[in-house]
């Protein structure tokens, strides 16, 4: 028994899952639940063996069949993305497999015989390293798990779904509604009222440069800088991007509560006392109008492109 079995339920983003799978310690078998072969081929850039289980889009209806496939594959560690769907399915898989459960890991290191999984402590910066017990284990991963998919065609292996109803049939993960693009974005640029005076299109061009989506604060929406479906926070969306770049955002709790999971936060604000600096990994105390052109130049040089 070695390697990982990576399981992707219907609610998780498949393209993003492919980058996650590429960062897992190999060999990696992937189990994709409730999607057609065509849907998988178009979203999965990653090569490898993909086991397709069931075609029900009911989130967890096929969970017993998934358990059967996991047992067959006999990977040491079952891994799921730490999004709402993965977080809901993980306890069920741990229970069915009699496995240990470790949630929200941000990194893995070490060799096959001595592997350390890292989790960020709730409400602190400290990283805790865990060793999984000898038997089966279920882990959810987020944050820095992002590799480069190989770009080759995956080898699809179909399996049958479940015909008998199970308890899991009624299970529902959070936020099951078809979300707008920002809910799945890996990179988000968050705009606040502080960008109101910026040249038209400046932050949009910046976001487009590195494939980010725009999110917004309530104030920014009130100032009609963005549409309401892009609002993050208590009364908006909760999302788990890998990186969140905020521009002219004060960092009110009601807004920052929309970011969860382990996300690195970059803040640009001209007020050195803005609350957003308390949570930022990188803080830039500057007028956004001054900083954006400098940042854009830097990105263009590194990417070898020009948006002029």
């Amino acid at each position: 028994m070695s390697g990982c079995t990576f399981v992707v339920f219907p609610g998780s983003n498949l393209a993003r899952a492919a980058t996650t799978a590429a960062a897992l310690p190999g060999p990696v078998d992937v189990v994709v639940v409730g999607r057609t072969a065509d849907a998988v081929r178009s979203a999965w850039q990653g090569g490898g063996s993909l086991h397709l289980v069931g075609d029900s889009d009911r989130e967890f209806a096929d969970l017993p069949a998934v358990v059967a496939v996991i047992r067959e594959l006999a990977g040491a560690t079952v891994v799921l993305p730490a999004d709402g769907t993965g977080a809901t399915a993980a306890p069920a898989l741990a229970w069915e497999l009699g496995a240990a459960l470790l949630t929200d890991c941000v990194a893995v290191a070490g060799t096959q015989d001595d592997r350390r999984w890292t989790r960020r402590r709730a409400g602190s910066d400290v990283l805790d390293d865990y060793r999984l017990p000898a038997g089966p284990a279920v882990v959810t991963v987020a944050g820095e798990f992002a590799g480069a998919p190989t770009g080759t065609e995956p080898n699809l292996v179909p399996h049958d779904g479940t015909n008998t109803p199970s308890t899991y049939d009624g299970w529902r993960p959070p936020n099951p509604v078809g979300p707008p693009a920002i809910a799945d974005a890996e990179l988000l640029v968050g705009i606040g009222r502080g960008v109101a005076d910026l040249a038209a299109g400046s932050y949009q061009r910046l976001a487009a440069l590195f494939g980010a989506e725009i999110a917004a604060t309530r104030q920014a929406i009130e100032w009609q800088l963005a549409t309401a479906d892009r609002k993050l926070g208590d009364t908006g969306l909760r999302v788990a991007p890998r990186t969140y770049l905020t521009l002219g955002v004060s960092g009110a709790n009601q807004h920052m509560s929309g970011i969860w999971g382990n996300c690195s936060i970059i803040a640009v604000n001209h007020n050195p006392h803005a609350a957003v600096f308390d949570v930022a990994d990188i803080g830039v105390v500057a007028d956004a109008a001054d900083f954006l052109p400098v940042l854009r130049k830097e990105l263009e040089v590194r990417l070898g492109v020009s948006t002029e």
Partner: protein
């Protein structure tokens, strides 16, 4: 018919020391300020109380040491009919908490609707409600923003800017509640708060729990240097742009 709402206990001091988090107030032994539940737990209590026709049907439960009583008193002030504490003050893992909570469910007149927070205030692993649903063999509605009683079942709601959704479940189910702007609990009146100090909390001995495999903590460290907060001022825009670009392009192939 019972509604059981689970509230997270305070975290023992030894755990806090190991976690590197200083206690916030109170006796210095526990992290939960005595006047406050975890944010999702508070929403869970409000949802549970809203579900019941009669407050006597709503039971608050916590697995923990004496410090957990504070949270239970708040639940009582918020409208729970009675409170149970399963007396275990050691460091608890999700599977053990779920097993002990399942034991409590078994003692209550059914069907039992279990309401929890989507994440607790202790380890924030989000494991307990799912594991509890597995143990009980019932439906799990995860991270709802509200729940209503229908004829003989439940309807969970998810309200977000992305759109609304609803799912139904039988009465015997586990529902975890995510606190949002829409389900903020009301502050209990002074009368209710004072009243909440009167009823006895049922302290029950924990049943023996089975050995579950758990991951072992082998060490802790401060994050890698790249994750240390860094700050740039107005005179350092070039350095700032370089650091920000590195972070933004971190996930690009070839960078």
């Amino acid at each position: 018919m019972t509604i059981l709402v689970c509230v997270t206990a305070g975290v023992p001091a030894a755990t806090l020391a190991a976690r590197g988090t200083a206690p916030r107030s109170g006796t210095g032994r526990f992290t939960l300020p005595t006047d406050q539940l975890g944010r999702h737990d508070a929403a869970a209590v409000a949802s549970a109380v809203g579900l019941a026709a009669d407050r006597e049907d709503v039971v608050a439960v916590s697995v923990g040491g004496q410090a957990a009583d504070a949270g239970l008193r708040i639940a009582l002030a918020q409208g729970c009919g009675r409170a149970i504490r399963v007396d275990r003050s050691d460091d608890l893992d999700g599977p053990t908490v779920a097993e002990l909570l399942a034991g409590v469910v078994g003692t209550l007149p059914g069907p039992v609707t279990v309401v929890t927070g989507v994440r607790g205030s202790a380890w924030e692993t989000g494991q307990v409600p799912g594991l509890l649903a597995c143990r009980l063999g019932v439906v799990y509605l995860a991270g709802v923003t509200g729940v209503d009683a229908t004829g003989d079942g439940l309807a969970g709601h998810w309200r977000s800017a992305a759109g609304d959704a609803e799912a139904t479940a039988p009465r015997a189910a586990v529902v975890s509640v995510a606190r949002t702007a829409g389900n903020r609990p009301t502050v209990p009146s002074l009368h209710a708060t004072v009243g909440a100090f009167e009823p006895d909390i049922d302290v029950v001995a924990p049943a023996a729990t089975s050995e579950v495999p758990v991951a072992t903590l082998i060490g802790s460290r401060v994050p890698d240097p790249a994750r240390q907060p860094v700050r740039f001022g107005v005179g350092e825009l070039d350095q700032a742009a370089s650091a920000v670009a590195t972070r933004l392009l971190h996930h690009y192939v070839g960078h």
